[in-house]
């Protein structure tokens, strides 16, 4: 089994599925797509359980020379961080596909087959991003994710999506190009050292002088901050989530944006540790602003999808904060947060999507409440997902949020104090939104698709997510087992050890 | 020797300024030819100065090129002129930013 290029096959499965479904009629394409994403899920699970070793370090490595003249390799591998992201990705895609079963039926741009094809392409690219161990390859697939994402945003969703897609793409491309400078810079540094290469392992071995490190760091960080997103380069986020379909938003926020924080860990901390420490104060401040600002703005939103998008800003603030406070709890909390946020926000988006589809509007005020009585399951799911988002104990985000907050206090008391306020704000925006949209006397539900409760398909998409929220809320250890060895690796490479052994909930 | 160079420089400058300030395509074109011929003068002078023939040979080639340019330039200007009944470069203004 180990002789097989497991990761390449993993990437190839959705890719083949994407190509196939692009040329098939809508209904068939959906089935093929679902099959492909399911296969990827199964394959990833098999690979993880059969071949991944919990000791940490880069595993399942494949390395082939790609462009010899530039020292570029086709190199794949996963470590703890990569593995959880891969699993998150493969798990979310089938759910999104099912949830969006009828979403793209009546749209142009290739209809369902187009939607499925782009989703699968996005999955393949994302998997490649999380498994790439060559900077060049990483960059290539990093940028390549934008194309399917662009067409998903621009092709499907509410009117005005074209503009939103363009804003999205411009932001992301700009970030990518800034990163390109740093990628090139890394290459030049390695060439100066005598061995031009893009392999992360080669680059990590370099001794880069601090000034250069800082420049390179800025390049990488800007790109990842846009991706993540982080204040002040987050403005694409709300527009995109507002206009795109919720399925797309799930993929964007829960999978794609994780690349940002993933990149910070992999490149900023992994390759440029000195510069990362140098930048900590600024980054921490930015993260705190994101946390508070995201939450505050979310409170003021009337559009449900915008609201959810902005909560993510707050959450990404937490993740970045965890990464840059430089201690074990922080980082493992962040990684955990990435998973939990993925699950929780996905659930919230999907529920919101179902609700909006029923009401025909995304405006909280226009909904006028009352849904609780007509559609109790829907309301319940909404509540669970919402509470998970605001970090209710017993649901998984709580664990990661606590880890990060503890780490923040350890870093500096005022950082922790500011971070804590977000919990309060989160409670406000979730509960208030719930109250206004679900509870109360309710209006007349005339002229819309019809206010009815969730059907089996919809419940089926939400159930695994809610289960995961509960499961990881009470027993996060399996995840932490995967994550912690990697956290130790990072801490060693950064050169900061606080002695504490992993984060205990 | 220097005198010739200075003369050629002056001619070149006149041609150059002429191109920039004149509006009639034919005149502009003649100014360009003046620039080429100024170059020829410089080439020949330098050839004399360095005592080799490269510059003079170059002058020959330049003449050929100038001739070809005249032919093509006149053809183009003629077509425009016939269409618009004006050789002013300002009148040719369909292409704008």
């Amino acid at each position: 089994m180990n002789d097989l290029p497991l990761l390449t096959i993993l990437i190839a499965i959705p890719l083949v599925g994407a190509i196939a479904s692009a040329f098939l009629p809508g209904a068939t394409a959906r089935l093929v797509g679902l099959g492909a994403s399911g296969a990827a899920l199964v394959w990833a699970a098999i690979a993880a359980f059969s071949s991944y070793d919990l000791d940490g370090g880069m595993q399942l490595i494949e390395t082939h020379s790609w462009i010899e003249a530039l020292g570029v390799h086709y190199a794949l591998g996963v470590d703890g961080l990569g593995l959880v992201m891969v699993l998150l990705t493969v798990a979310l895609v089938p759910i999104v596909l099912i949830a969006s079963w009828h979403e793209a039926d009546d749209e142009g741009n290739g209809g369902s087959s187009g939607f499925v094809a782009w989703v699968l392409a996005l999955e393949a690219m994302s998997l490649a991003v999380f498994t790439a161990t060559d900077v060049f390859l990483f960059y290539v697939v990093f940028e390549a994710t934008l194309i399917p994402a662009y067409f998903l945003v621009g092709g499907f969703g509410r009117s005005g999506r074209g503009r939103a897609a363009m804003k999205f793409l411009i932001y992301q491309l700009a970030g990518g190009l800034v990163m390109l400078a740093s990628v090139v810079g890394l290459y030049v540094v390695s060439a100066d050292a005598g061995k031009p290469s893009f392999l992360i392992s080669d680059l990590a071995a370099l001794d880069i002088d601090p000034i250069t490190q800082r420049w390179l760091f800025v390049g990488f960080f800007v790109a990842f901050a846009i991706k993540a997103p982080l204040f002040p380069v987050h403005t694409w986020l709300a527009d995109t989530t507002e206009k795109a379909t919720t399925g797309t938003s799930v993929l964007l926020i829960c999978v794609l944006d994780k690349i940002g924080t993933f990149g910070m860990l992999r490149f900023c901390l992994g390759l440029l540790p000195d510069a990362s420490q140098w930048a900590t104060p600024v980054v921490v401040v930015l993260a705190l602003i994101s946390i508070v600002y995201g939450a505050l703005v979310a409170i003021g939103q009337d559009d449900l999808l915008r609201l959810i998008g902005l909560t993510s800003l707050s959450h990404f603030g937490f993740i970045v904060l965890g990464i840059f406070v430089f201690n074990n709890q922080g980082i493992s909390g962040s990684i955990l947060y990435m998973v939990n946020h993925g699950v929780g926000t996905a659930a919230l988006f999907l529920v919101a999507g179902y609700l909006i589809r029923r009401r025909g509007t995304a405006s909280i005020r226009a909904m006028g409440g009352g849904a609780e009585k007509v559609a109790p399951v829907l309301a319940g799911m909404f509540l669970i997902a919402g509470l998970a988002t605001c970090g209710l104990p017993g649901l998984s985000p709580f664990v990661s949020e606590m880890l990060v907050i503890i780490a923040a206090f350890e870093h500096a008391w005022w950082v922790g104090a500011v971070a804590v306020t977000a919990i309060v704000l989160a409670a406000i925006y979730v509960l208030w939104a719930y109250q206004r949209s679900m509870t109360g006397p309710g209006g007349d539900f005339v002229g819309v698709e019809g206010m009815r409760d969730l059907d089996a398909r919809e419940v089926g998409t939400l159930a695994p997510l809610v289960l995961a929220l509960l499961l990881f809320g009470f027993a996060p250890m399996p995840l932490l087992d995967v994550i912690n060895p990697h956290v130790d690796d990072i801490m060693t490479s950064v050169g900061v050890t606080d002695g504490a052994q992993g984060g205990q909930p | 020797m220097t005198h010739y160079i200075v003369l050629s420089a002056i001619l070149f400058t006149i041609g150059c300024v002429g191109v920039l300030v004149r509006r009639n395509a034919i005149v502009v074109f003649m100014c360009i030819e003046l620039m080429l011929n100024a170059s020829n003068l410089a080439l020949v002078t330098f050839a004399k100065q360095h005592g080799n023939l490269d510059g003079q040979i170059a002058a020959f080639f330049v003449m050929v090129v100038a001739a070809a340019e005249v032919v093509i330039g006149l053809a183009i200007i003629m077509t425009i002129f016939r269409t618009r009944r004006s050789a002013s470069v300002d009148d040719a203004s369909l292409l704008k930013y």
């Binding site: 790609w66 003249a69 662009y150 390109l180 | 490269d54 930013y97």
Partner: protein
């Protein structure tokens, strides 16, 4: 009187040049003697055969060149040192010839406009006159365009191979003059086309005047036209260095004009817009490749020892070119103009690579050299731009090509394949990974950064970001905007244009995914032969 020494003419090494020139002359003969009905086929076949023959010759020469200094350079100096048939030359020849083949295919396209080519039926007939109508209704066709194209190709081959100033000047003119004419031959929108030709001609002749005076001054400085001898003079610092500096400046005016660098870019949009689209495609691709080849050779070989005099100037030019090209492109509402400004921006990117490290002593083993990067970029860009303009020629309405961006809205629904191909080319221009544009950009940026030109690279990045905006705007218009009126229609082309587009797209994709072989080839080309 010195005795006459018969120059050695290396006929084999010059075979591509001779073949192309011979075919061009033959084309004129065909034009003169073949009956009108037979001309079209004869010319197209002849041109294609000639170009492919020349391409074969390039390959043959490439396999059989002398190698110097362990592969650092290869080739020979032919015809008494006036033409350098070395690695970079052969590489550029190959690229130009392939682009020219595609150009001929585009020229030959007659399917798009109701059975006639894109060229005026009778250039001498006044636009809007009875004679023109008659020429149109009789289906007249200027088959002279093929010999003209071949002459231009000949100039393009000669230009980067020239190893002395005079040959370079001749190459410059031979390449330009046919293009001036070709620009004025559009079938539709004759006035626009003629105007473009006039502008191109006047500005082109103006810049070649500068080039020539530069030739004279540098000759005055060095006492020789030969690059090697000039290099020797520069190294030994003999002669009047102000002559050298002014001469160098004037020479670069001429060359920067041809590549369309700021501040000599003004002609680019007008000419690109006004010229018949096949000509634009061919010109945008070929001229840039040839002119950059010449620029590289001139500055690396002849002025290489005086790098510090010209480097700052080139820094500024590169920076300005990128910024101006990118910013002005945003304001355009015409696809051809937009592509023109984007080509200006690309000129800036290539110039960035031109600023990179060249001396092999400064390179780590396996590191990309500036020459290699630029050669690669040129090859990739040529294919992209060719394909993009080929697609522009497909989108038409009853009045001919539709180039206004508004009218391109909704193209993705009208013709997904064409829109997809165009989007792909745009993404390649924007430098998105998995297209050749990305690898090219990476290569030029890395060489420039290695040479310490980080401000240029930073500006390059900024310009890329700005540029990305207008490329994506077009994609958005094609896919997500509602069509205005009845929208444009895509005329499905014959196999000729389709082949060109496919070639461009395939090259762009292949070079994006596996750029290795071409990069290696560019690396194998080695240095310029001195």
């Amino acid at each position: 009187m010195t005795d006459f020494v018969k120059p050695v003419i290396d006929y084999f090494e010059l075979l591509p040049l001779l073949v192309v020139f011979g075919v061009a002359c033959l084309g004129v003969v065909v034009e003169a003697f073949a009956p009108r009905s037979a001309r079209y086929v004869a010319q197209v076949v002849l041109a294609l055969a000639g170009l492919i023959g020349a391409l074969v010759a390039v390959v043959l020469i490439g396999q059989d060149v002398e190698v110097y200094a362990d592969g650092a350079a290869r080739g020979i100096l032919a015809v008494g040192g006036t033409i350098a048939v070395d690695g970079p030359t052969l590489f550029l020849w190959g690229v130009i010839l392939v682009l020219a083949v595609a150009g001929v295919l585009l020229f030959a396209e007659r399917h798009l406009d109701g059975g006639v080519s894109a060229f005026a039926g009778q250039a001498a007939a006044l636009p809007g006159s009875e004679a023109e109508r008659e020429a149109g209704s009789r289906g007249l066709d200027h088959t002279e365009v093929y010999p003209l194209l071949m002459f231009a190709v000949f100039g393009m081959l000669l230009f980067p191979a020239a190893n002395d100033l005079l040959t370079m000047f001749v190459g410059l003119e031979v390449l330009s003059l046919p293009l001036y004419l070709l620009c004025g031959l559009a079938r539709r929108r004759r006035l626009l086309s003629q105007e473009a030709a006039l502008k191109y001609f006047l500005l082109g002749a103006f810049s070649s005047g500068f080039f020539l005076y530069g030739v004279a001054l540098v000759y005055g400085y060095a006492g020789s036209m030969d690059f090697t001898a000039i290099n020797e003079s520069v190294r030994n610092d003999t002669g009047n260095s102000s002559l050298l500096l002014i001469g160098m400046g004037l020479l670069s005016v001429g060359l920067l004009f041809k590549i369309g660098a700021v501040p000599f870019q003004a002609w680019t949009p007008d000419v690109y817009q006004g010229a018949p689209t096949p000509v634009t495609a061919f010109m945008a691709a070929g001229t840039k490749v040839a002119a950059f080849g010449a620029l590289l050779r001139l500055f690396y070989v002849a002025f290489g020892a005086d790098r510090w005099s010209w480097q700052p100037m080139m820094w500024i030019v590169a920076i300005l070119t990128m910024i101006v090209g990118a910013i002005l492109a945003i304001t355009q509402n015409d696809v051809k103009r937009m592509l023109a400004y984007s080509s200006v921006a690309h000129t800036g990117f290539i110039l960035t690579g031109f600023l990179g490290v060249q001396a092999s002593a400064d390179l780590a083993p396996g590191e990309v050299s500036a020459l290699q990067a630029v050669l690669f970029y040129l090859a990739t860009y040529g294919f992209v731009v060719l394909g993009a303009f080929a697609i522009v020629s497909l989108v038409r309405d009853s009045g001919g090509e539709v180039t206004s961006l508004d009218r391109w809205a909704g193209l993705g629904k009208e013709s997904p394949v064409v829109a997809a191909a165009f989007a792909f080319f745009l993404l390649a221009m924007a430098g998105i990974p998995l297209t050749s544009g990305f690898v090219g950009k990476l290569a030029v940026f890395s060489v420039a950064l290695a040479a310490g030109a980080w401000p240029v690279v930073v500006v390059g990045i900024l310009a890329s970001i700005i540029a990305a905006f207008f490329y994506i705007r077009v994609i958005k218009a094609m896919y997500f905007d509602e069509p205005v009126g009845d929208g444009p229609s895509v005329v499905y082309p014959s196999v000729l244009t389709a082949t060109t587009i496919a070639l461009g797209a395939a090259a762009t994709l292949m070079l994006g995914i596996v750029p290795g072989p071409l990069l290696d080839l560019a690396g194998l080309a080695g240095q310029f032969l001195r």
